[in-house]
């Protein structure tokens, strides 16, 4: 049984417990807001990394996040639909759009794929800034956005407070992590890893190359849409500028710093860099250039990321125990 919790329960349960208790130990509204954002970024980075398993860097993740966010804003606020229907719908819409986009773009390889996805990202950004301005509110941004709320007989919960939103994003992040984990260790996960090594070879053993890539692509689009859907009510205003190439580059930096080879890499990267950025808040104008240096230095000095360093440290300790002489 390949269960995430049952196999090695303690580290995961420990971190989950820490995350659940955190808002009460450190009762700062700002910290909860930052952590809710971190959870959303984790979902995005996980879907970015899932695509990276096949050796393709999907730079259009932010555009699918944008589609999810605008979808939530328009359906939830303008048309007044319930958030709990809109969120899965926005994920499904993103995977549907991803499916149409996947057919041309997944036939591309290597460099062509990066450029194709960047083209899509620029297209989506241009679309939301300039087209249907009365619906999407153009460059100034769509605001206000209704927050999700639960209304049952005898029970009413508004996700206005940072505390409730913290738990909402946390639960959805946990669910997505479990799904990503199960997918990576499933048959399809094996196919995806094999594709990155030898895509011609895997076709000869009877795996439909395009189909398994499309599956990967649509799943990562789905989660990008969910992330966008969570992002919109949290921030309260979405502009096309939120989903530009800078944000994409920051996501890439997160997974590189965390380690692209390890499943826990994106989580480590997002948490490490986001907390570092909060601690260095006073040097805000050097933020982007600092991220640039972090990305370049991380790629040069720790190409396997923080998780790679930890794994190497653990395995070197194990060897010491095995060979005492």
């Amino acid at each position: 049984m390949n269960n995430i919790v049952l196999r090695k329960p303690f580290p995961h349960l420990f971190f989950i417990a820490v995350a659940l208790v955190f808002p009460f130990v450190y009762p700062s509204e700002y910290a909860k807001h930052v952590f809710a954002l971190i959870f959303i970024k984790i979902i995005l980075c996980m879907s970015l990394r899932q695509m990276l398993l096949t050796g393709l860097l999907n730079l259009s993740i932010v555009s699918f996040m944008a589609i999810g966010a605008y979808f939530t804003a328009v359906l939830g606020t303008t048309l007044g639909m319930s958030f709990w229907i809109v969120m899965p719908l926005s994920g499904l819409t993103c995977s549907l759009i991803g499916l149409f986009f996947a057919f041309p773009v997944l036939r591309l390889k290597g460099a062509y794929f990066f450029i194709g996805t960047i083209c899509f990202a620029v297209c989506v950004q241009t679309f939301f800034s300039n087209f249907y301005v009365e619906t999407f509110a153009g460059v100034p941004g769509f605001t206000p956005i209704d927050v999700p709320h639960i209304k049952l007989p005898g029970f009413e919960l508004d996700f206005m407070s940072h505390l409730s939103y913290y738990y909402l994003t946390f639960i959805i992040m946990l669910l997505s992590i479990v799904i990503f984990y199960r997918l990576e260790n499933s048959r399809f996960g094996q196919y995806w890893k094999a594709i990155s090594f030898a895509d011609r070879l895997i076709e000869t053993v009877g795996v439909d190359l395009l189909k398994s890539k499309i599956l990967n692509f649509t799943i990562s689009c789905f989660f990008a849409g969910i992330a966008g859907s969570l992002f919109a009510p949290l921030i309260g205003i979405i502009t096309p500028h939120d989903f530009d190439l800078l944000f994409m580059f920051i996501l890439v930096m997160f997974i590189v710093v965390g380690g692209t080879d390890s499943f826990w890499g994106p989580i480590t990267g997002v948490i490490a860099i986001s907390i570092l950025a909060e601690l260095l808040r006073d040097f805000g104008q050097y933020e982007t250039i600092g991220y640039g240096f972090i990305l370049v230095l991380a790629l040069i000095f720790m190409p396997k990321g923080i998780c790679g360093l930890i794994e190497r440290f653990i395995s070197s300790k194990k060897e010491v125990i095995k060979t005492p002489n």
């Binding site: 860097l57 460099a111 990066f114 640039g292 240096f293 990305l295 370049v296």
Partner: protein, 286 residues
């Protein structure tokens, strides 16, 4: 629309086409020899623009000398970057692409921190208009177009007829065989990277005086050069010429009739349609 307007648009698209080709050729040169996609290529164009701002506009150095300076300085800087960073990522497209993403923000942000947020204007190098048979053209744009054409021709001659150029072509055909014949791959890679980025810097000097200089001027240009090399096919120089001219004309003619966002969407949509039918570009090969 009269003949005058059509000719003006033609000249404009030819000028932009030439400079896009100049930038994209550097990109395609780097791709075919180092086998990396340098997303930071547009930032070298931006650095060229700032060279012209510092030397031509502030220190009043001669225009052509500024171009030479930009080529040498930015090209030399590019060689240093190649030695420090890109050398270890040859033929590894993914990490090289990620590193170049980081470089984009390092270079553009450092220029923003040094020179400030505002656009810098560079004075017109060759003011005035020239009249040919009752039609008037801006001298500057004519000279920029001609310079672009000359540089493209020089690059072609360099690749086609010099010993270094022959070594470059040998590397693109078969790296191991080239190594066996005594080609110094490290040296050729540095030269290719330096020349490619130096040409982008010259394009920055040429266009800096036509438009303006800012730390974000590299981003749209890199997208356009990518479109060009996708249109023509990565690593193909004739494809690059074709793609540049097509893009220059589409950009200018479509901008006359449509708004800029629509042109952007149309250009990208065109790329997708092309990629569906020819995943390797118009003149690309495996």
């Amino acid at each position: 629309m009269g003949t005058q307007e059509i000719l003006a648009i033609l000249l404009n698209s030819l000028m932009l086409g030439m400079l896009y080709i100049l930038i994209a050729m550097g990109l395609t040169l780097v791709y075919s020899i180092l086998e990396i996609v340098n997303f930071a290529h547009g930032e070298f164009y931006m650095l060229g623009g700032f060279t012209s701002y510092v030397f031509f506009s502030q220190l009043h150095v001669n225009y052509f000398l500024t171009m030479l300076l930009a080529f040498v300085l930015i090209g030399g800087f590019a060689v240093i970057i190649e030695k420090l960073i890109f050398k270890r990522y040859r033929e590894q497209i993914l990490p090289a692409f990620m590193v170049s993403l980081g470089l984009v923000w390092i270079l553009s942000e450092s220029m923003r921190l040094i020179f400030g947020n505002w656009d810098k204007s560079v004075p017109v190098a060759f003011p005035g208009i020239i009249k040919i048979g009752g039609l008037s053209f801006s001298v500057e744009r004519l000279i920029v177009t001609i310079m672009g054409a000359i540089l493209i021709a020089l690059l072609y001659i360099f690749i086609r007829f010099t010993k270094t150029g022959r070594a470059m072509r040998a590397i693109t055909q078969d790296k191991d065989a080239a190594l066996l014949q005594g080609v110094n791959i490290d040296f050729i890679c540095s030269i290719a990277f330096g020349v490619g980025c130096g040409l982008a810097a010259i394009a920055g000097v040429l266009l800096g005086s036509v438009f303006y200089v800012s730390s974000t001027m590299g981003a749209p240009v890199i997208m356009k050069s990518f479109i060009i090399i996708i249109l023509g096919g990565l690593g193909s120089i004739p494809g690059c010429l074709l793609g540049g001219l097509i893009l220059g004309f589409i950009d200018n003619f479509a901008s006359v009739f449509l708004t800029v966002p629509k042109v952007t969407i149309i250009t990208f949509a065109m790329i997708f349609v092309l990629l569906i039918f020819r995943p390797r570009g118009l003149l690309g090969h495996e």
